[in-house]
Symmetry: C2
Subunit: 585 residues, 2 copies
Amino acid sequence: MYRTHTNGELRIENADSRVILCGWVQRIRNLGGMTFVDLRDRYGITQLVFDAEKNETLAAEARSLGREYVIQVEGNVSERSAKNPKLPTGDIEIIVQNLTVLNASEVPPFTIEEDTDGGDELRMKYRYLDLRRSNVRSNLELRHRMALEVRNYMSSQNFMEVETPVLMKSTPEGARDFVVPSRMNSGRFYALPQSPQLFKQLLMVAGFDRYFQIVKCFRDEDLRADRQPEFTQIDCEMSFVNQEDVLNTFEGMTKHLFRTVKGVEIDYNFPRLSFAEAMESYGSDKPDIRFGMKFVSLKDKLSARDFKMFDDAEYIGGICADGCAAYTRKDIDQLTDFVRRPQVGAQGLVYIRYGSDGTLKSSIDKFFSTNDLKAIAEQFNAKPNDLILILAGAKKKTLSALCELRLEMGNRMGLRHRNSFAPLWVIDFPLLEWDDETQRFYAMHHPFTSPKKEDIALLNSDPAKVRANAYDLVINGVEIGGGSIRIHNGDLQQKMFKVLGFTKQEAENQFGFLMNAFKYGAPPHGGIAFGFDRWASLFAGIDSIRDVIAFPKNNSGRDVMNDSPSTISDAQLEELNIRVVEKKA
Amino acid sequence: MYRTHTNGELRIENADSRVILCGWVQRIRNLGGMTFVDLRDRYGITQLVFDAEKNETLAAEARSLGREYVIQVEGNVSERSAKNPKLPTGDIEIIVQNLTVLNASEVPPFTIEEDTDGGDELRMKYRYLDLRRSNVRSNLELRHRMALEVRNYMSSQNFMEVETPVLMKSTPEGARDFVVPSRMNSGRFYALPQSPQLFKQLLMVAGFDRYFQIVKCFRDEDLRADRQPEFTQIDCEMSFVNQEDVLNTFEGMTKHLFRTVKGVEIDYNFPRLSFAEAMESYGSDKPDIRFGMKFVSLKDKLSARDFKMFDDAEYIGGICADGCAAYTRKDIDQLTDFVRRPQVGAQGLVYIRYGSDGTLKSSIDKFFSTNDLKAIAEQFNAKPNDLILILAGAKKKTLSALCELRLEMGNRMGLRHRNSFAPLWVIDFPLLEWDDETQRFYAMHHPFTSPKKEDIALLNSDPAKVRANAYDLVINGVEIGGGSIRIHNGDLQQKMFKVLGFTKQEAENQFGFLMNAFKYGAPPHGGIAFGFDRWASLFAGIDSIRDVIAFPKNNSGRDVMNDSPSTISDAQLEELNIRVVEKKA
């Protein structure tokens, strides 16, 4: 035993007891003959005192310590004269009698503080030091608690966690598969799973009834700011259920997580928005409904007034920002610049100011009469002091731009609090997505997603209109999870392949193995998968998933800490029967 | 909702209630006008009744069902006249009023029964059907419960589960690494972890204090009967601990698992055997101590009697089999054949029979007098009716052969009950192992394992004698886990590398990255890793780890169910900048 207590547990009740503590030197202060050392471990900080008058040798040793030295001290717990109410151990300090340096430390390349002076690159290179910072560590503690609560809740609901293979089969469409050459099977490759979809459906065929797994998945794609080549999913599947059963089950899990991990009691049913409604009202299939400002569509409600931007527009719509009539010219210019950025892509911004005196002023006064403006303001239920912002143009693009504008206004108006949470289900997704480039339909979710019964007839006549039994869990504008009821009927599956433009042979090549399993009594089933990294970062109140991952990779998929990926030896390549081909310059 | 109840939950109290059930058709019996169907799901079996007299159409439908059809039925719960006490639902049956076929099934290639008629190959190919067998499924349920209990126990002890990378750095000694070509970093490779050793030590440097993870690991080696290319470990590490702390912590976890999963209360401290004792008494570092029959060494206790086999032997030792004096000539011949098999490798077997009348008969009567035999029998504390079995030869080989003989006798005498458990710690392993071929020492555990303080001086003078702070958990002759206290002192680590024959440069290349981290205040730490598959199979009472893995691979590392690993497209190879090299015939 190196210690009797951790640095987070001693209280005034422990005064006068003899203790042994271990930890890292956070800070040293010399005040006259007294040396104070803050000793840190995962559990907290405890103040150590060395009195030069009582033991000069010991005090000198203490003064010679450096930041991040690992030490062991023995001493007596003593009530502090100057208590520190910010520290759980702030009522006491340790009068040290013995000091042992367990390990010295070079001066770390950045400070081990919540607000460190280290830049991103440096902190990633020395991730093991970055992880010593209490805010980074507490994110990982949160993640641990979340995983534990998921497992206990799911188990209480009769779900079994089953480990599915990491070394699996590469699919012909697996362009984003990471592959693993097999030494024992020359010229052949395993693939790392992009998801355990296939296996979880097989487990349903196997009668496992309720499966879940917190599982690493892999995708070899160009990484955007917040993607990782390996990521973690909470993967779930259940049998003999319809969409309603799945939504209820996982709404229960979500509420459980909020309650146990965040201390947030959600005592209402999650709102449900159809994909169509979500697009019309928020211009997004993952709306942030912590605040209102729903879109108001104006196209059908405006008469032509020779205002070209409106007259030519496929879609005209806007939002009403409560109490923002006082926005200055400069504010409006900023917003106009915002919507004109290429990432947002609107042509321009129309505003209507509803003055506190009831007057209406707008950027389109030239074209619209006061009565026209009044009529528009009524569409928005606008009140004095409100600011109406309107975009117009091609529908899809304008909805998306208006979505960005709404979120920006939400930020400016302080309506997107990190500690307020607004979960909802988005349902009734389209089954298919048309791709202009390849001139064919693709499955929006995946080819096993079940169409709604009442829409099956449309599969022949108007495939784009077919809605799927597919659903997403969205919290605060972040897609936390998504899933669907699967097709379990062979005929319907064949039809689906046909709509997707697969020949019988192609379908057989790509999915024959699962289809074969389905011949032996597949139950009706459906499921969902949650992005665990994303969920953890949402709960941690941070924007990036990197800091809920102990050892993340950078945007090039590299671990700068240990400089991987790296070259391997020729002997190893030879054993694997592969050769590296030099990239053409 | 497809069902109101599962097939495992209806009891006599439910009589007369209306229920909807779903499941697979296990069995159909036609008795006169009555058709009985056993409906199966994960939770159990419920009997359905169709009465042709009441509804001939429905009964005809029932008769037309096939094995493994997926059906939904609605009906009334009724008390059975002939109850089945073997079935939890055996008091009731369902008088069916509605029957819906949810999915038909082709005739499965083997019977879905505990005792199936399917061979290994066939069952692996149709693993999703094999998993429907209740014994296979219950192994996976057991595995799930074990994982959950490990997680809850470890969390209660302040251990944090942290996910470490699957895509990591290949080490120069990583001959057994699976590698993953990186598309974004041409010519470079990730490696899949053989264990998270490096990362868990970094987490200790990061001050995480107590880490665990149930984690997939990978090893690309020729597979023996009971190895898998991907396997699961319970990986653990703690800071500020010595060996005693680690043993106590994980003895606690082990007892918790026995209690909660197996219902076995272990109210004693696990015995501890030094490696040396284990080898002397059982000829193995993983002794099965469910039974005695410890080795008795005779070499120093026998005078030369011109019996060449003994006189030339480096080691003579034997075991005493209680009450086996009645073994026939044939029995002894079988045992002699057993020890002479190449896998065991003894030259011959000497026996001494202690008759019930007190007489001693042996295969060495020619060389040893009755008094000699008596003296030998006394060494074994043999009683009338016992059988003494003796082997002689080179020490290492003979100890190992005697170990096999002891286990064989344990089997024959019925001393190795599947439901009795005898855990122990084997401690004080040698730090180093001499390799004759390469004429150098290798680390027995790994190069970071700490030598015992009192043996450090021997590192220079007699390295083979140095004992390590390394330990194994052994249960019933199976190594369930192993670990060590790590070196956290830079100087000692350098010395260790020197003993292992690394140049400074080689040490830097292979371990520089960890050594670098150690410069910034590494705490004293140690840990352990358990083979989760092995432990689950021990608890399941089965010999192979395959049946505690949902989708295992065969001895060639192949998944015969989906025929992986498989070839990948040229386009994919090109994107990865690698080429397959044809193997020379």
